[in-house]
């Protein structure tokens, strides 16, 4: 099994940490992982993206141009990465702020209203965990208890009191993700 994922959105949305938790979850179940961020001036307020690979085998290239799954969190990333999903692959996106919805017919598309949900929970910061929950529902490649372990490993200890709320957000994501059908 090899899963190649791109997570893309604005800096500050927790794109990189979502990828880190996912990668750590892979380690927790004895898989090979890589986490390759876009870095540089983009980090400061612009777009941010990270490529995560989880595999049963040694990972060759950590840098990819096509993906099994794209998790897309703003319009710029939609424009950039919709075409990079492999045929038959998965695209998950938050419709918040999206002006042009995905158009491809040869991939599975899912929507998750994570920004709205996080706002309803009164915790905008757990936005990325809601998205992660949505991904785990669509692609249950890593077990939930390994995700929780990965979360614990990724968060510095001073934030460990926030583990329950993050876990709750992931679970909400599992519930609210839904397939998107074009009319």
């Amino acid at each position: 099994m090899t899963e190649e994922i791109i997570i893309a959105g604005f800096g500050g949305q927790g794109v990189l940490s979502m990828g880190k938790i996912l990668a750590y979850s892979g380690i927790m179940q004895d898989q090979e992982v890589s986490w390759m961020p876009s870095y540089g001036p983009e980090m400061r307020g612009g777009t941010a993206n990270v490529t995560v690979i989880i595999s049963d085998e040694r990972i060759s290239s950590p840098i990819l141009s096509t993906f099994d799954t794209a998790i897309i969190l703003n319009q710029q990333s939609m424009d950039k990465f919709e075409d990079a999903v492999k045929p038959g692959g998965v695209l998950i996106y938050d419709p918040n702020g999206i002006t042009r919805h995905p158009e491809r017919e040869d991939i599975e598309v899912y929507q998750i209203a994570a920004a709205e949900e996080a706002s309803n929970m009164g915790m905008n910061k757990v936005f990325n965990m809601v998205v992660l929950g949505g991904y785990l529902k669509v692609k249950p490649l890593v077990k939930m208890d390994n995700v929780i372990k990965g979360l614990k490993k990724s968060l510095p200890e001073r934030y460990h009191h926030l583990l329950p709320v993050n876990e709750k957000a992931i679970k909400r994501g599992l519930e609210i993700v839904q397939e998107y059908k074009k009319n």
Binding site: S34, M36, G40, S60, S61, I63, S154
Partner: protein, 361 residues
């Protein structure tokens, strides 16, 4: 006991390795894309963990010369930087090589020339393997291609540097510095005591206790003596070339064609090998782990045996290709393929190049 596993950036892994490998001092200056090394170190409070000193210098010029001082005193000293900063260190490196002192540098290479770009590149191959500063010297150069190797090569580099009393360079790039992978950590070893330093490095300037004074210098004005110093250094390099070559072969046993690539390029080329094999092309990859000493003999043997064409894949306009061509010695076609300025070659394009330029030609 089970080893500790962590998800780490390449830059963090090498910093953690430094604390665990008994490094005495890190002297550095921030530059993208490697600032995480010093950030990680300062965050870890290495003074408490191992007694390691971390100091932010006023420039790369100062940091390499701080290393010159500490290395001359027999301490394990290292720095890290990225291309423009490494350029500034060349003077100090030349002195360190001339004075025959061990130390380790990490270059997280970015695109150049000049201020260039902060994206990954391999355009500092010449600078690392051919000397870089003035005079006849080489840096022992290791090229990690994974975060685990960023961790592992720190200790190996110090061992080689100390064995041969020569600076060692870990030539990485922005991709390996910035990406995270699984790292298996080993147990920390303690730093050398003063007694151990005096015992292991009797040449070090530790204060002249029960011996004549020690002088650390690269100066010898008498040309006959200076030539002898150079001959001694060159003798050391021949020994390094004989004993310390490291490489990895991927699907080379039946290979008709060969890619030669290191670091990030080697990761991309692993993918190219898969793509080629799917198409029935018997392609192999030779990944030099030491760039100096370069695995010339291995390449020569392979082209003598069965390999019919070679592509050197580099994120530069073609530097390692010169060493590859020397090794191939005109026996079979050998060409360079690369992207540069921070661009990364795609595995598909590498295969396309092989098919068109080597197999088709």
């Amino acid at each position: 006991m089970e080893k500790e596993l962590r998800l780490m950036k390449g830059n963090e892994a090498i910093a953690e390795a430094a604390i665990r490998a008994g490094v005495d001092a890190y002297y550095g200056y921030p530059i993208t894309p490697q600032s995480e090394v010093m950030e990680y170190l300062t965050e870890q409070k290495p003074e408490d963990r191992s007694g390691m000193i971390v100091l932010q210098a006023e420039s790369e010029v100062a940091s390499i010369n701080m290393i010159y001082g500490a290395a001359g005193a027999g301490k394990r000293a290292m720095t890290s930087s990225s291309s423009p900063g490494i350029s500034l260190m060349q003077e100090g490196l030349s002195y360190i090589a001339g004075a025959e002192l061990p130390c380790v540098l990490l270059n997280v290479v970015r695109g150049g020339p000049g201020l260039g770009t902060i994206q990954p590149s391999q355009a500092d191959y010449f600078q690392s393997t051919k000397g870089g500063g003035h005079g006849d010297y080489h840096l022992i150069t290791l090229a990690p291609s994974s975060v685990q190797e960023m961790y592992d090569f720190l200790k190996i580099s110090f061992e080689l540097a100390e064995k041969y009393r020569n600076p060692a360079m870990i030539l990485s790039d922005g991709a390996i510095g910035q990406m995270m992978e699984k790292v298996e950590l080993d147990d920390p070893v303690s730093r050398r005591t003063e007694e151990e330093i005096i015992n292991d490095f009797p040449w070090a300037s530790t204060g002249k206790k029960n011996r004549e004074r020690n002088i650390i210098t690269s100066l010898e004005l008498d040309p006959a003596k200076q030539e002898q110093i150079n001959l001694n250094i060159q003798k050391k390099y021949r020994e390094i070339e004989e004993k310390e070559v490291r490489f990895e072969k991927v699907q080379c046993d039946d290979a008709d064609y060969l890619l030669v690539a290191y670091g990030t390029s080697a990761r991309l080329c692993q993918e190219t090998v898969k793509l080629a094999r799917d198409k029935g092309i018997k392609l192999g990859l030779l990944r030099p782990i030491t760039l100096y000493p370069f695995p010339s003999k291995e390449i020569a043997t392979m082209v003598n045996d069965r390999v019919k064409g070679v592509v050197a894949v580099e994120m530069s306009s073609g530097q390692m290709i010169e060493d590859v061509k020397l090794a191939v010695n005109g026996k079979v076609p050998a060409e360079h393929y690369g992207r540069f300025g921070g661009m990364i070659p795609s595995p598909e394009k590498i295969l396309e190049f092989l098919e068109n330029q080597i197999m088709g030609g």
